[in-house]
C-alpha cells in the first residue's frame, strides 16, 4: 500500500452506475406509489404523511448541518413560517376564489421560508460553528416568542386554521380524504428530495462541503465562505418552508408550536440519528424518529426520556448515525468478508440486548414508583408482565443490567478483533474502509 491509487477499488462501467442511480430513484417512486396499497388503514396513511413531511424537513436541515457544517437550533422558524403563510394563503385563495389549486400552496410556503432566510440569513451565517448555533437559537427564540405577541398574523395560542377543500378544484380532486393528501405529500417529497440531491451534486454543493471542511482554503480558492453559507441557508429555508406548508395542509392548522424549540430539536434529532454524512441519513432518521414518536408514546409514558437517551447513545458511540453504521459495512460486503463478522455480531448482540432490557426494566420500575405510584404495578415489557412491587423484579433488572454490561464488554472486544481482521482483508483486496 505504497500508493493511494493502488488501493482504490476497480472502477465499474459508467453505464452500470447510471442504471443503478436511476434505478434507485425509480424504486423510491414505486415505493411511494405502492405504500398506500400495501398498508391501507387510515392510521398508517396518517403516519406515512407525517413521515413524508419530516423527511423533507430533515433533508432541508441537512443542507445546513451535514453539507455545510452549520448546526442550527432554530430551523423550525422557517418550517413554521412556511406553515403560517400556507394557511393564510389558503384562506385568501378560498376567500377571493383565486384560480390557484392546493398542490401549488407548498411552493408559497417554500417562498415564505426563503424570504425569511434571505432576511435573517446574512447576519446568522457570518460565523460558523458555535456562534452560528447560538445565533440560530436566539433568532429561533425571538421569532417563537414574537409569534405569541403578534396575534393577528400568528393567531396567538390557538393558531390559525384553514380549510383545504375550499380551494380551486384541480382535476376534480377535493383533497379532503387522507389518501389524496398522502399522494400530494409523496409527490412533493419526490420533487424536493430530487432537487436537494441534485443540489449536492452541483459545484455549489461541493463548495458547501469545502466550507464545512476547510473555510480558510475556500477563501484561498477565491470564494467567500460567508456567501456560500448564506446561499445554503436560503436553500435550506426554502425546503423547510415547503415541509411546513405540507404540514399545514395536512393538519389544516398552523400554531406557534410549529416555530418552537421543540420542533427544531426534533429535526436535529432525526438528522443526527439518521446520519448527517450521507444523503440517505436524514431520510432514515426522519422515518425512525417519526415512528418512535408515534409508537413509543403508546408503549411508555416516559418515551421522551428514551428518545433523549437514544440520542446521547448515538452521539457517544455512533456519531455517523444509522447511515454511518450501515455504510461502514460496505467495504466488507464488497470484499465478501461480511460473513465472518456476523457470528461475532450475534454473540455480542445477546448480552447487549439483555443489558438494554435490564436498563429499560429499571427505568420502568422507577417510573412506577414515582410518576405512576398509584397505578397498577404491573409493567408489560416485550409482552412479559413484570410486577414492579416485587423484589424479584428488581433483582432481575439488576442482573440483566450489570451482568449484561460485563458480558457485552467482553463480547464487543471480540467483535472488534473480528472486525479488524475482516476490514484488513477488505483493505488488502482494495476496498477502502
Amino acid at each position: 500500500m505504497s500508493n493511494a491509487t493502488t488501493t482504490i477499488a476497480p472502477p465499474r462501467s459508467i453505464g452500470a452506475d447510471r442504471l443503478r442511480f436511476y434505478g434507485m430513484w425509480a424504486v423510491a417512486a414505486l415505493i411511494l406509489l405502492l405504500l398506500p396499497r400495501l398498508f391501507s388503514s387510515s392510521g398508517s396513511l396518517t403516519a406515512f404523511s407525517l413521515v413524508g413531511i419530516s423527511i423533507i424537513f430533515a433533508l432541508s436541515y441537512n443542507i445546513l448541518f451535514g453539507q455545510t457544517g452549520l448546526l442550527s437550533f432554530g430551523h423550525a422558524v422557517y418550517y413554521g413560517m412556511g406553515a403560517f403563510l400556507a394557511v393564510h394563503s389558503m384562506n385568501v385563495i378560498a376567500g377571493s376564489k383565486l384560480p390557484i389549486p392546493l398542490p401549488v400552496v407548498p411552493l408559497i410556503g417554500g417562498f415564505a421560508g426563503l424570504m425569511l432566510a434571505i432576511v435573517l440569513g446574512w447576519v446568522s451565517t457570518r460565523r460558523a460553528g458555535t456562534v452560528f448555533a447560538m445565533i440560530s437559537l436566539g433568532v429561533g427564540e425571538l421569532i417563537a416568542s414574537s409569534a405569541l405577541i403578534l396575534r393577528s398574523f400568528f393567531g396567538g395560542e390557538a393558531g390559525v386554521d384553514a380549510n383545504r377543500t375550499k380551494l380551486f378544484k384541480f382535476f376534480d380532486l377535493s383533497f379532503g380524504p387522507q389518501i389524496q393528501i398522502y399522494y400530494l405529500i409523496a409527490a412533493w417529497l419526490f420533487i424536493a428530495a430530487a432537487l436537494m440531491y441534485g443540489l449536492t451534486r452541483t459545484p455549489f454543493g461541493r463548495m458547501c462541503n469545502a466550507v464545512r471542511d476547510n473555510p480558510e482554503r475556500v477563501q484561498f480558492v477565491g470564494y467567500d465562505p460567508h456567501v456560500i453559507r448564506y446561499l445554503a441557508f436560503c436553500f435550506s429555508g426554502f425546503f423547510a418552508g415547503i415541509a411546513g406548508a405540507l404540514a399545514a395542509i395536512n393538519f389544516e392548522i398552523a400554531n406557534s408550536a410549529y416555530l418552537g424549540a421543540a420542533q427544531s430539536g426534533v429535526v436535529l434529532f432525526a438528522t443526527f440519528i439518521g446520519g448527517a454524512g450521507f444523503f440517505i441519513g436524514p431520510i432514515l432518521g426522519a422515518i425512525v424518529v417519526t415512528y418512535l414518536q408515534l409508537e413509543l408514546s403508546d408503549l411508555t409514558s416516559v418515551w421522551q426520556l428514551y428518545f433523549g437517551l437514544i440520542f446521547i447513545g448515538m452521539v457517544m458511540f455512533a456519531p455517523g448515525g444509522i447511515a454511518g453504521l450501515l455504510m461502514k459495512h460496505r467495504p466488507l460486503l464488497r470484499a465478501g468478508t461480511l460473513g465472518s463478522v456476523i457470528p461475532s455480531y450475534l454473540v455480542a448482540l445477546i448480552p447487549t440486548l439483555a443489558m438494554v432490557a435490564g436498563f429499560v426494566l429499571a427505568i420502568e420500575i422507577i417510573v412506577r414508583h414515582t410518576v405512576m405510584a398509584n397505578e397498577s404495578p404491573i409493567v408489560n415489557l416485550f409482552r412479559v408482565p413484570f410486577d414492579t412491587s416485587k423484589a424479584l423484579t428488581w433483582i432481575i433488572a439488576a442482573v440483566l443490567l450489570f451482568g449484561g454490561y460485563l458480558v457485552s464488554r467482553w463480547t464487543w472486544m471480540r467483535m472488534a478483533h473480528a472486525w479488524d481482521r475482516a476490514a484488513s482483508i477488505a483493505r488488502d483486496k482494495g476496498y477502502m474502509a
Binding site: V123, R127, M134, A261, F272, F311
Partner: protein, 315 residues
C-alpha cells in the same frame, strides 16, 4: 416613579447577579473545553430541585451546601464519562451531547418530581421584610440572595486572579498542552472546572428556587437567556459575562414593570389601523415584549458588535 426605579434596580441587579452565577461557570467551561454547555441551565434546575428535596428532609441551610455539591459531582461525572469520550468526535458532537443531556435531565426531573411547581418556601429565618422604601416591603430573602451571589463573585475573582489554582486554570485556558507538560493533570483540571461551574449554577438554583418558581421547565426557560448573556458579553470573557448579566437583568426587570406602548405614547395622533399586523405592533406594551428583549439585544449585538461587548476575538 422613583419608587419604581429603585425597586426595579434592586430586582434587576439581583436577577443579573443570579444570571452571572450561571454565566460565569458557562464562560469558564467554554473557554476551557471550547464547548458551550447546553445543559448548564439544567444544573441550575437540578440545584433547585435538590435544594427543595434536601430542605424537606433536613432544612434549608444544609441544602445550600449539599445540593450544589451533589450537582457538581454529577457535573464532574458528566465531564469525565461523557464529554471526554465525545471529545474525539469534535466540538459539534460535544455540543449535541450536552443538548441531549439537557433533554434527558428535564425528563428525569419530570419523572421524579412531576410537572407542577414545587412548594419551595423561603426559610423562616429569612422570611421578614428587610427594609421599607416608599411603603414597599423589600424581602430579606432577596437581600440574602444578593449577598450570596456577591460573595461568590468576589471569591471567584480572588481565586482566579490571586491564587495558584487560578493561575493554573488560566494557563490551561490558553495553553493546555504546555500546562500538561509542566506536570499538571489537565484532564483533572478540566473535570474540576466543569464541576465547579455546574456547582455554581446549582447554587443559583438553590437560592433562586424559593424566590422564583421551582418547576421542570425552568431550565428550558432560562437556558436560552444564559446563552444570550454569554454571547452578548463576548464568548469566553468573564468581565463581559458580568456586564451582560447585569444589563440583561436590568433590561428585563425594567421592561416588565413598564406599561407603555407606541399607542400610549402617540395617543390620538396614531394612525387608525384596521385589525392587522401593525395594530399588534402599535398596541403591544413594553411589559409584553420583555421576554423577547434579550433576543432582540442578541441580534443587535451580533449585527453591530459581533465579538460581544467585552469580547476580544470575533470567534
Amino acid at each position: 416613579m422613583l419608587e419604581l426605579i429603585v425597586i426595579s434596580t434592586l430586582n434587576g441587579v439581583l436577577y443579573g447577579m443570579l444570571l452571572f452565577l450561571m454565566a460565569s461557570g458557562l464562560t469558564v467551561i467554554f473557554s476551557m473545553l471550547g464547548v458551550l454547555n447546553f445543559a448548564h441551565a439544567s444544573f441550575y434546575m437540578l440545584g433547585a430541585f435538590f435544594g427543595y428535596q434536601i430542605t424537606r428532609w433536613v432544612g434549608f441551610w444544609p441544602a445550600l451546601v449539599v445540593a450544589p455539591l451533589l450537582a457538581g459531582a454529577i457535573g464532574m461525572a458528566v465531564e469525565r464519562y461523557g464529554l471526554r469520550q465525545v471529545h474525539r468526535h469534535g466540538h459539534v458532537a460535544e455540543l449535541l451531547f450536552t443538548f441531549g443531556l439537557a433533554f434527558v435531565i428535564a425528563e428525569i426531573v419530570q419523572i421524579i418530581w412531576g410537572k407542577s411547581p414545587m412548594d419551595f418556601r423561603v426559610p423562616a429565618a429569612l422570611d421578614f421584610p428587610a427594609f421599607t422604601i416608599f411603603s414597599t416591603n423589600y424581602p430579606a430573602y432577596k437581600m440574602f440572595m444578593l449577598l450570596i451571589s456577591a460573595v461568590i463573585f468576589l471569591a471567584l475573582l480572588i481565586v482566579l486572579k490571586r491564587s495558584r489554582v487560578g493561575l493554573i486554570v488560566q494557563a490551561a485556558l490558553t495553553h493546555p498542552h504546555m500546562v500538561g507538560h509542566l506536570g499538571h493533570n489537565v484532564g483533572r483540571i478540566f473535570m474540576l472546572v466543569f464541576g465547579v461551574g455546574t456547582a455554581l449554577a446549582a447554587v443559583a438554583g438553590v437560592i433562586a428556587g424559593p424566590a422564583l418558581v421551582t418547576q421542570s421547565d425552568m431550565a428550558g426557560l432560562l437556558g436560552p437567556i444564559l446563552f444570550v448573556v454569554v454571547v452578548v458579553g463576548g464568548l469566553g470573557s468573564l468581565p463581559g459575562a458580568f456586564v451582560a448579566s447585569l444589563l440583561i437583568g436590568l433590561v428585563q426587570t425594567f421592561a416588565v414593570s413598564m406599561n407603555g406602548s407606541l399607542a400610549s405614547i402617540f395617543g390620538p395622533l396614531g394612525p387608525d389601523h384596521a385589525q392587522s399586523l401593525l395594530t399588534d405592533v402599535w398596541n403591544v406594551t413594553i411589559a409584553q415584549i420583555a421576554p423577547i428583549m434579550p433576543y432582540l439585544l442578541l441580534v443587535l449585538i451580533l449585527i453591530f458588535r459581533p465579538m460581544g461587548l467585552l469580547g476580544t476575538r470575533e470567534s
